[in-house]
Point group: C2
Chain length 131, copies 2
């Protein structure tokens, strides 16, 4: 499942989700702390995750004018393209995994119930937005 992402696009799930969050964020950028919270990683985890994405050219650093402590992670054009490419295959992968086993009603039930679990967030709509 996530091994497919790695094999086909060289992305970890966290790489992928990181790009996804950035793509949805205003101006394609987020503070590292906020990214950490969304990805359920520690600050150091995010630092290293972004190290990799920066080296690959998918994201860049930008400083914040009003608070010199924060450095933004901003999605580059290359990063947006990469995400688009990976999202296509990943989403259809997830979709078929579920649609092979559950009816539409059942999927809705699962979504409703599982949303009550801690850390559920709003990940559910991933498939409904074009990336």
């Amino acid at each position: 499942m996530s091994a497919q992402l790695v094999a086909e696009h060289g992305l970890t799930i966290n790489d992928y989700e990181c790009l996804l969050y950035l793509a949805h964020a205003e101006e394609g950028r987020m503070r590292r702390v906020d990214l950490a919270e969304q990805l359920i990683l520690t600050a150091s985890g995010v630092t290293r995750l972004l190290d990799g994405l920066e080296r690959a050219g998918w994201v860049e650093r930008a400083s914040c004018a009003s608070d010199r402590r924060v450095t933004y992670a901003v999605l580059t054009d290359a990063g947006r393209a990469k995400l688009q490419e990976a999202a296509d295959s990943h989403i259809t992968g997830v979709r078929t995994l579920f649609e092979e086993r559950f009816s539409a009603d059942e999927i809705e039930t699962l979504a409703r119930l599982l949303a009550r679990l801690p850390g559920a967030g709003e990940a559910v709509d991933e498939a409904s937005c074009s990336g």
Copy 2:
């Protein structure tokens, strides 16, 4: 959740599940390959996992009479005791997590649906056996 296991008993989830599988196995022992499959780990992962459990004295090695390639992992008395101790708090932890959010009917629905996912196995009955 699993951090609680670590903090209170010094056990990883895989440590815990490993002891659990061994406890349910015939004569309290399993081949490393089978353990790997159950825990969804590679063979090397199991080697290292068992390294730790052996060092702690929760499991021992035993060789197989009919096939000299295999070495069993067998649960020691100390290991069984440790599992009992950890299971008490872990199971009630999981139980309350769910019972705080779902009704009995909903739990049953979740169990039925999620069982269709790959790798679901028979982990569901963990809570129903005394350890």
